[in-house]
Symmetry: C2
Subunit: 415 residues, 2 copies
């Protein structure tokens, strides 16, 4: 039996036990895990330093190195995250709905854990703790599969929290890290359908594509955000400027940042020069369609590829469109169904845009940057789903559960 | 471009249009489709006769031939199914929840169609109409892929309803049948992730396994039912007998029929002889564990394989278990997470069984045969999900939808 299969069997057994553990016991365990993190911060930083050294030796980029690096403050934030989960309400056991049939059968649909959740993620070691906390709270056993670049940090963090959880009474095997970081072991995890109920990839587009292609375990696709803002003919242009600048520059490296701006031709000549000036001052490179280039001298041409691109950087594709209809068509053609916004003062345009755009989160007169479990008030977030099955948009604790029907009778048979 | 890809593109375009069609227009179309079926029944039966002839020539079994065969009555039932869908309430547009954030943003989570639904199914041509009706009602474009043995029936039925739907104003391409029945075209459909939002296989275990293995499109696994009834130590044995006999013999060829009976050792000596007599009289073959064989002379031995088997026939595996705990363990080990029942008068046993058994539908003192969308009062059913993502148990119209977040603001940006 392979290492991965052993992990799967152990997780399956743990999940069965964890499913019936009380909320109180899970919350105590989360508190215990938080305490363990803060009390062992020096060792955690030591393990992280090994990963950092290896990263520097291997010529890791500054951005990746920053994501990899832990500090006392970051460890404190992880612990705080666990304490907040302990304080959150437990989704398991919620009666979603229920009714009585004519024959007397009493049916209720009850929220239950998914079972075993696999998380495949890249550099950031905080995912180890955040994802494990969310899974424990929602009654799921978790199999964590991080990247080789963070293996020392991940190994130590997972050991600390798994041990603390077990000490507090959680079944062994609730939190397991895949000790291997080669491609084959990742692929084996993706095909462990017998033991793993869902796989959530957290990382770049390449990772997500691989998981979607290779996995026989059901996958929740997360995170790729090619987000749009459409400045309609009737837009308040001051508001549009604020929203566009926020959506592009507030944090360009995240999935809910805007990547393409669409501008109605009726306001393009007035709006583009003013917003271009501000964006350029903030360091944004513009890539425009022909109409945009006519209005804004010296702007580089956008290619077909640009419309598909998730830059995650201070680059913005700009296109002038003849109509709301064309804006919707553009978004549905090139977008990743994540987050889109319209700036308008026209009620009909708002209604047509929100109905016609096929994305998880559709905004009227607000920045796409709000797409986030915390901002939405859902509490901690395991990711943002860009698929339509099971969950769509920011996923909180509830999205880490399934349901079962429980039916009570007194001898009913079918005739 | 391949035939399959063309179908996908056309379905995607149709889905975008269909998503914003009113309930009234969809209901009119469903009525029109029903009328078309009844008015063209002779031609439908003619097309079906071609399939039947080919089936007989190819030595098709009687059971399969029965599933393939249409009659005026069966066509009438299909039409009636469409009229019932027209009368059902529309799931699209339901505001699932909504709230206002501190910053004034108004969030609502609204039910929307999934988009494009692919159905891969075996012999029964009524699925063509039933599935298309459910998809149209829930605002989804559907790509139907039936088996070669029913190709003439499926082609004619799909043409009749697609044409009727279009005449009534539905966008073209809402209902499409894959004209090919080779394996390669099925596999291509399974990998058409760009255009197909979900794939639902309806058929035997082999078909479902293939789809799960091959598909990159998200799949909802349906239907395989290795269902159990556990007769507890405290069971009312008269009730237990009624439930067991109903669950095994009422319709043995369907997924919610019982395949294994577990009996607590405390009542095995009393219960097994009486229930065995009745089951045997009804033509049921028993396959027992060693303890069962000690109590029931002449019963064939059950092998490890029997515990995994979905017989879909008048065969029952029987095992005597020492405890409730062991019954739960057996079900979670060998079952297919479909439907299980306990017969008991012990409250604690009922609670432990319903909590511990990891299946879509868990019954106390009732037959597993009730697992059905119609029986549950959900209306028509597209299948019974045995996976945990998105939907679990009987799936009705609501399970053919997703949601989107629509957020209204007045210029909010993130700080």
């Amino acid at each position: 039996m392979s290492v991965i299969e052993e992990l799967g069997i152990r997780a399956g057994e743990a999940a069965r036990e964890l499913a019936v553990v009380t909320a109180e016991a899970k919350n105590n365990a989360l508190e215990e895990m938080a305490r363990a993190l803060t009390s062992r911060v020096d060792e955690i930083l030591g393990a992280n330093e090994e990963d950092r050294k290896a990263g520097i030796e291997n010529g890791m980029s500054d951005a990746l190195l920053d994501r990899l690096t832990l500090s006392e403050k970051r460890v404190g934030e992880m612990a705080q995250g666990l304490r907040e989960l302990a304080a959150a309400s437990d989704p398991v056991g919620e009666v979603v709905e229920g009714w009585r049939l004519a024959n007397g059968l009493e049916i209720k649909k009850v929220r239950v854990p998914l079972g075993v959740v696999g998380i495949i993620y890249e550099a950031r070691p905080n995912v180890t703790v955040d994802a494990a906390g969310l899974c424990v709270k929602s009654g799921n056993a978790v199999i964590l599969r991080g990247s080789s670049s963070a293996i020392n940090s991940n190994r130590f963090l997972s050991e600390v929290i798994a041990h603390a959880g077990e000490s507090a009474g959680l079944p062994g095997g609730c939190i397991q890290l895949v000790p291997l970081t080669d491609r084959e072991s990742a692929k084996e995890l993706m095909r462990l359908r017998k033991y793993v109920d869902v796989l959530i990839p957290r990382g770049g587009a390449g990772l997500i594509r691989t998981v979607v292609e290779e996995s026989t375990v059901p996958v929740i696709e997360t995170g790729v955000g090619n987000c749009h803002t459409f400045v309609d003919a009737s837009a308040d242009l001051d508001m549009a400027e604020r929203i566009v600048v926020n959506a592009k520059t507030h944090r360009p490296g995240v999935c809910n940042a805007m990547e393409t701006m669409l501008v109605h031709e009726a306001v393009a000549a007035e709006f583009l020069p003013r917003v271009a000036q501000e964006l350029t001052q903030l360091g944004v490179e513009l890539r425009g369609c022909e109409r945009t280039q006519e209005i804004l001298q010296g702007v580089k041409a956008a290619t077909e590829d640009d419309w598909y691109e998730e830059y995650l950087d201070l680059i913005l594709a700009v296109r002038v469109v003849p109509s709301l209809q064309e804006a919707i068509r553009h978004i549905n053609t090139y977008g990743s169904q994540h987050s889109e916004a319209i700036v308008t003062s026209d009620l009909d345009a708002a209604r047509r845009f929100t109905a016609g755009v096929d994305s998880a989160d559709v905004y009227v007169n607000a920045s796409t940057r709000f797409t986030d479990g915390g901002q939405f008030g859902l509490g901690a977030e395991i990711g943002i789903s860009t698929q339509k099955l099971h969950a769509r948009g920011p996923m909180g604790l509830r999205e880490l559960t399934s349901t079962k029907f429980i039916i009570y009778g007194d001898g009913q048979v079918r005739s």
